[in-house]
Subunit: 317 residues, 2 copies
């Protein structure tokens, strides 16, 4: 198959592109390198079945020109940073998530491309009334990131129905791995950087009690490919994650241990969430993907530890 | 209060604007008259507390210039036509629903305006797994209209949380009334027009078995104002409708009866839904608004009949 991976120079997209090449497919990656990195796809560039287009999909013409001949679209391009800080523009997610996703859908419609896998997020749920959260629970997002991913899900659902597409929507847990994106720190890279600057103390955003589900990028790619192969209907929504969660305090301990730093003083901003729009506690109900036959091999702690082990040496100044 | 009603020249918005003026408020209506009509607000124009701005809210500057001094926003402006016909642009709802709603939210944020009532739709649910549909059930819209209203709900939920707004989201049943919009026929006006052209037969889009909930615009305005007064929390979602539904076949009978036409031959396009993206059967669970103390006075049949009685003389060629 000829497969398009948008956002394919990102931490997850580049893993996916590599896996698809190994399966024998031809892969086109479109990425504007705003958060993805050329180094993530550098090993793939010599492969004659690999093509890289550096472009911003917010331009409809660019998106449309990438589509002819494509058999399957993995749409991962997005603003990857859930955080909103006062002073940030409020239309970044609108543009990079909703407008780009509309452009991808419209380009698929025009070119007659039917199957789409979309990377959504557990942030669509907001503060859930119950944990773990099944896919059928209400969506009341508290971040612009979650809000715009929810808008993308709506567009995909409508395009699927109106134009006979086949779509898989994956709501990711927090995805961690050995790659570092260009901008927007994750909790692990944030802790490593802070400890490199001052190994005596660590400022934790929030009260440390935040507890979330983690999954490695490798397992995330596994789960997506598994679901696409097994769930062959017209429209599917899957939570992707493991079935437990991990506190921020525990992640701090794991990073400190991996960096071999004794006596680090923990300090807290003290809020319930780490930043405006942060969902302090979530755990996904992954029964649906489990029933299909896929289950995460790692717990949240194992996933985070794998990422820490890879990132600590990488982040050395 | 100084109240902004976007889409205030529409069938529902103009009723709402009139009611707010009667309550003693000052009302600013912004409408681009693309589906609203000047005649709907003509009776309000002489009122010194009424102001009309003819403008398209898709322009951020226009939206922002209407906001200073406003105490409350009723955001009804939208593409009102749920239908998608092959050949239509697919970005109309994206622009008129999502981009306009983002512009309204951003203008409110910039001007420090906190309370917002938003007109959403039962079309956000798509083909529901169970009827009646409570507010907490999944959203898998099958129309671009429903999809983009779902996107608006996401944005409102996030803005509410990030910027301390107070928001009421109302998911409307099919709203009917004595006013006719500029473009996009409803089932009632469609039947009347077809019978005026040929009183011997009536073509029904679909198989006639479609069954939906109806509410008059007057009762819809009642319900919104009631909920805003009584449900004073930060974020509310309400289904607005009555607790029954009415078939398209029965509406055809009622229109034929009201027009005094014997022996009309009914013809059907025969599909389950009337058009691509049409949800053939829905009934809203209105327990939440009922528990707050509001209940529709009219059944779906009474609501539709009220509209038919008003529209038949109006639509005479």
């Amino acid at each position: 198959m000829k497969i398009l991976v948008t956002g394919g120079a990102g931490c997850i997209g580049s893993d996916l592109a590599q896996r698809l090449l190994l399966q024998g497919h031809s892969v086109t990656v479109v990425d504007d390198l705003s958060s993805g990195k050329l180094e993530h796809i550098a090993p793939l560039l010599p492969n004659p079945r690999f093509r890289f287009i550096e472009a911003d999909l917010v331009d409809p013409g660019t998106t449309q020109s990438a589509m002819p001949g494509i058999d399957f679209v993995h749409h991962l391009a997005a603003n990857p940073d859930v955080k909103y800080s006062p002073g940030d523009p409020t239309d970044k997610d609108l543009r990079q998530n909703i407008l780009v996703t509309y452009n991808v859908l419209e380009a698929m419609r025009l070119a007659g491309v039917k199957p789409l896998a979309f990377s959504s997020t557990s942030a669509v749920y907001g503060i859930a009334e119950r944990l773990p959260i099944p896919e059928t629970d209400p969506m009341l997002p508290i971040s612009l990131y979650g809000a715009t991913k929810m808008g993308c899900e709506g567009l995909i659902s409508a395009f699927q129905n109106l134009f006979g597409m086949r779509c898989w929507i994956f709501r990711f847990a927090n995805i961690v791995g050995p790659k570092v994106r260009k901008r927007g720190r994750t909790v692990i890279s944030d802790f490593i950087h802070r400890l490199q600057q001052d190994s005596g103390k660590l400022l934790i955003l929030g009260n440390g009690k935040q507890a979330k589900s983690y999954l490695t990028a490798a397992e995330c790619v596994d789960a997506m490919l598994f679901a696409i192969e097994r769930a062959a209907g017209d429209l599917h929504v899957f939570n992707l994650g493991c079935d437990d969660s991990l506190t921020v305090d525990r992640i701090a301990e794991l990073v400190i241990e991996a960096m071999g730093l004794p006596g680090v003083k923990l300090e807290y901003t003290g809020t319930e969430g780490g930043w405006p729009g942060d969902v302090p506690r979530f755990k996904l109900d992954v029964t649906r993907i489990n029933r299909l036959g896929w289950k995460a091999k790692m717990t949240s702690e194992q996933a985070v530890n794998t990422a820490i082990e890879a990132l600590v040496p990488l982040c050395r100044p």
